[in-house]
């Protein structure tokens, strides 16, 4: 399975959500076929509310882990 990682740390709000939605939409076919996972790296706390909410509405699953001072959001299709 292909894994793409996007480092969105330090960006101006709400770029993290906008960029995540852009990447998910761009790769949605591969995500839905379970051929790909995306990892979003962010230090933006609000994104940990907005991104999961958006992913649920889009029908994707996610796993969030805190790494040091930032968070990783793993996006995949179950």
């Amino acid at each position: 399975m292909k894994i793409l990682t996007f480092n969105l740390k330090g960006q101006v709000c709400p770029s993290t959500l906008l960029q995540t939605l852009k990447h998910v939409n761009h790769h949605k076919t591969e995500l839905k076929k379970r051929e790909m996972q995306l990892i979003i790296i962010t230090d933006h706390r609000d994104a940990l509310n907005t991104i999961p909410d958006a992913l649920e509405k889009m029908g994707f699953s996610f796993k969030i882990e805190k790494v040091s001072y930032y968070y990783q959001i793993h996006i995949y299709k179950e």
Binding site: Q11, V12, Q19, N49, S68
Partner: protein, 363 residues
Amino acid sequence: MLIYFILLFFSNFFLGIIMHRSDFCLAGAFRDIWLFKRFTYLKATFVIIFFNLVLFQCFYSFGILNLLPYPLVGKPNFGNIFGGVIFGIGMVLSGGCVIGVLYKMGMGAVIYFVAFLGIILGSIIYIIFFKFFNAIKVFFVYSDYLTLDRILNINPIFFKSLISIFMLVIIIKWFKQNDFKVKSFAFGFINPFKAAIIISIGSLVSYILAGMPLGVTTTYTKLGVYFMKIFVPNLNEKLEIINKLPLNYYNNFLGKVLKGGYDAKFDGVVIVQLPVILGIFFGSLASSISLKEFKINFKAPLKHYIFAFIGGILMGIGARVGSGCNVWHVLGGLSILANNAILFVIGLFAGSYIGAVIIKKEL
């Protein structure tokens, strides 16, 4: 005075923690309704305004607050709307308002320090071109009355009671719809509706101590004047606006008259606003350190830095032309039904829409 500073600093230190933990962003509250059709933080802001409306009037009626309207509430004019539009665009481009950039700087995000510098530059631009911007402000003055109840000629307590009942009905409806349940995976997250109640109490504490609710941008302007004077030491002779003292009132808590203006001096403005600025910044810093999330981060696309800086400039100009920032008008002015706040917020909705269109295309 020392006790005053300590109380005002620590009450805002606590607010800084709350804002950081709840990601309470007033810029996002207005921006996200256009960008994502997300109303969570706007509803939470509505809750703050409701509690402030009730608390400010009650504490005034009990004699604990001695000034309502508080100082620096001016007549409604065209500058309020115009300033609101400019400010709204600016806060969306920057990703945070004048207080939002403070608590986000506390997280170590350098991009918000750039927005902060932009606000100071915007204030400098306003001071230099004061005659032009003042012409916009006085272009049209809508009324001699400061509050909506005076324009409508309604008893203020009766009017505010009606409005607060209406707001409470809406809040209860949202509560029953589970709109207040907000899930976040951020460590230490505080629900924004709980945060709203705490922020309202913080606004009240500021009002009791300082004689007015939260405000910061006049001190940002003073910082700008300070830097200008490094290059132009005789600035007071060149720009008359710096010598004026628009703040002139009796502070009940301190038991003395406070005066102040834009000059780079330690005056009433600094006494009222500096503890707020420092408190919110250090509160957010402490919160992010305690969560092990503090990191000085320079890495962001150049375009974001440009947007943050330009957004800051627009906020600096907008706050001065609009006779206050979003925090001053939304959390303070709307809660006392100030006409200039109502106009500013109308401008804010329009400006945040324009800003949202820009960032959706460019970010």
